[in-house]
Amino acid sequence: MNGKLDFSQVNWDEFGKATIETLQMLGYSSLFTLLIGLPLGIVLFLWARSSSYMLRVLYSILSVIVNILRSVPFIILIIALIPITKEIVNTSIGVRGMIPPLVIGAAPFFARLVETALREVDRGVIEAAQSMGASTWQVVYKVILRESLPGLIAGFTVTVIALISYTAMSGLVGGGGLGTLAVNYGYYRYETAVMLVSLVLIVLMVQIIQMIGDRLVLHFTRK
C-alpha cells in the first residue's frame, strides 16, 4: 500500500456497472425475501399460538429450521448452497447466482422479524374482530397485517440493509457488484481509492434505505 489516494485509478464506468449489479441483486433478493419471508412469518405466528397440537409441533420444527438458516454465516451459506443454486438458476456466480443464497439467507431472518412484529398486535383487537365474525384469513389481512404495518416496514428495512452487506460479501466468491470491485481492486491490488469509493457508495445505499424506511414507518404510525 502506498498510502496515497489516487482517484485516477478509479474506473467510473466500471463503478456504474457494479452499482447497477448491486442494485439488481438487492432488488431481486429483497423482492423474493419479502414474498417468502412474509408468509413464512405469518405461518410461524399462527402456528405458534394454534389450538391444534400438530400445528404447534410443526411450528417447533419450522422454528428450528429458521434458526439453523439464520445461524450459518452468510459466506459459508453461499458456498454450501452452490449445488442448489445451480439447480435453481443454472449458475452459481454473477448476479443470478447470488440471488438464491441471498434469499435463503435473508428470508428466515425477515420471517422472524415478521413474527415478532405480528406478536406486538393487541390481542384485544384480534378478539374484537373475531367477535364480529371475521375468519382467520380476514383477521390476518384486515387486522394483524394492517395493525403491524409500521413494525413490518421497520423489519423489512433492517432486512434490506442486511442484504446490502450480504451482496458486498458475495464479492469474495464471484458475485459481482460493488463488493467484487472492492475485493478485486481494493484488496488484491491495493487500490485504496477503489475500496474507498465502494465503501462510500455502500454506506450511501444503507443511509438512503434507512431514511426511506424511517419515513414510511412514521407515515403509517397512528399511535
Partner: protein, 338 residues
C-alpha cells in the same frame, strides 16, 4: 332470547385445572338489559365470552333465539357472531384505521356494497354523536369517544344482542354515565337485548332490568334489579350494595350501639309512587308515636323511584306495633333492625 344451561368452563394449564364457571343457568329475555355483577375472578368475563364463543365452554349449552351457538361449526359460528355485537373495557379499536373505517369494519367483513356501508356508518356515527370525528384516528379520541366508536361498530351490522364486557370500567364517572345513557337509549330505540358485566352496582342500578350476582363460578342470586337491590339475600350482594351507599355498615353498627328505652328501630322501604307520598307522617300522626330518621336514601333504580329509611319509633309498645302494622298494610316494607 338467550338461554344458558349448565355452563361449565374449566381451564387446564400444565396438568392443573381451575374451574371458572361451575354450572351456570340463565334466561335473558328479548329487549332486556341484563346485568351480571361479580368481583374480578368470579367468572363473569368468562361467562360473557362464552355467549359468543370467544371462550369455548367445557360443557353445557348457550342458545340464542333458535340457534344453539355451542354446537355450531366454524363458518356457521362466524355468521352467527355477526348478530352479536360486543364492546370491551379497553375498546379494542383498530389503531391504524379512522373512526369511519372502524365502524365500517364489520360491514366490510360482510361484503356489504359501498354505498350501503357509507349510509350505515354515517347513521351509526350520528347515533353515537361522533359525526365530526369520522376522519380521526382512535389515538386522537378520549376514552368516552373511543367507547362510542366501539358501540357504533358493534351496532353497525344491526345485531340482536349487545354484549358489554366491562364497557365502562376504564372510564371516569361522568363518561360512564353518558355511555350508560347511550346504552339505555339504544335499548329503547332499537329494542336491543343488552347483556353487560360489571363490578359496579351503580351500573346495574342505572340501566339494568335484571341482575345476576356471580361468585366463584356460580350464580348466587338473580332477579329483577329492584328486588335484588332492596332485598338482597346473599352476603356478597349486600356487599356490592353497601359499597354504593357509603359507610352503610358502620352506620348500622352505630345505630345498634345507641340504646333508647321504649323504642324500636326499623328499616322502611318505599318502592314506586309510594316514595313521594306522605304515608309515614300520616301514620305517626294517627298512632301518636315519635320518630327519628337515622339514615335515609331516596333514589331510583333505572326508572323506579325508591326510598329506604332507617327510622327509630319511640312510644309505648302497642302504639309502635300499631304503627308498624299500618305501614305494612300500606305496602311499605318494614324490617326490624334490633
Amino acid at each position: 332470547m338467550i338461554t344458558i344451561k349448565n355452563l361449565v368452563k374449566t381451564y387446564t394449564t400444565r396438568g392443573k385445572s381451575a374451574t371458572a364457571l361451575n354450572g351456570i343457568n340463565l334466561e335473558i329475555g328479548q329487549g332486556e338489559i341484563f346485568g351480571i355483577i361479580g368481583h374480578s375472578g368470579a367468572g363473569k368475563s368468562t361467562l360473557i365470552r362464552c355467549i359468543n364463543m370467544l371462550e369455548q365452554p367445557t360443557s353445557g349449552s348457550v342458545r340464542i333465539g333458535e340457534t344453539e351457538i355451542t354446537r355450531l361449526g366454524k363458518r356457521q359460528l362466524q355468521r352467527e357472531r355477526r348478530k352479536l355485537g360486543m364492546i370491551f373495557q379497553h375498546f379494542n379499536l383498530l389503531s391504524s384505521a379512522t373512526v369511519y373505517d372502524n365502524v365500517a369494519f364489520p360491514l366490510r367483513l360482510e361484503r356489504m356494497p359501498r354505498a350501503e356501508i357509507d349510509r350505515r356508518v354515517k347513521e351509526m356515527l350520528e347515533l353515537v354523536g361522533l359525526t365530526e370525528h369520522a376522519k380521526k384516528y382512535p389515538a386522537q379520541l378520549s376514552g368516552g369517544q373511543k367507547q362510542r366508536v366501539g358501540i357504533a361498530r358493534a351496532l353497525a351490522p344491526n345485531p340482536r344482542v349487545l354484549l358489554c364486557d366491562e364497557a365502562t370500567s376504564a372510564l371516569d364517572p361522568q363518561t360512564t354515565d353518558s355511555i350508560l345513557r347511550l346504552l339505555l337509549d339504544i335499548n329503547r330505540k332499537l329494542g336491543l337485548t343488552i347483556v353487560l358485566i360489571t363490578h359496579e352496582m351503580h351500573v346495574i342500578q342505572s340501566i339494568c332490568d335484571k341482575v345476576a350476582v356471580i361468585n366463584g363460578g356460580i350464580i348466587v342470586e338473580q332477579g329483577p334489579v329492584i328486588e335484588v337491590f332492596l332485598k338482597p339475600r346473599e352476603a356478597i350482594t349486600r356487599d356490592f350494595i353497601k359499597r354504593e351507599s357509603e359507610g352503610g355498615e358502620m352506620f348500622e353498627e352505630a345505630i345498634r350501639a345507641v340504646h333508647v328505652p321504649s323504642s324500636r328501630t326499623v328499616r322502611v322501604t318505599f318502592i314506586g309512587e309510594l316514595t313521594y307520598e306522605s304515608t309515614l307522617s300520616q301514620t305517626v300522626k294517627e298512632t301518636g308515636v315519635d320518630f327519628a330518621i337515622l339514615q335515609g336514601t331516596i333514589s331510583r333504580i333505572k326508572d323506579t323511584p325508591y326510598g329506604q329509611l332507617v327510622v327509630r319509633f319511640e312510644g309505648d309498645t302497642d302504639s309502635i306495633n300499631n304503627t308498624l302494622r299500618r305501614l305494612t298494610e300500606q305496602r311499605l316494607e318494614v324490617e326490624e333492625l334490633q
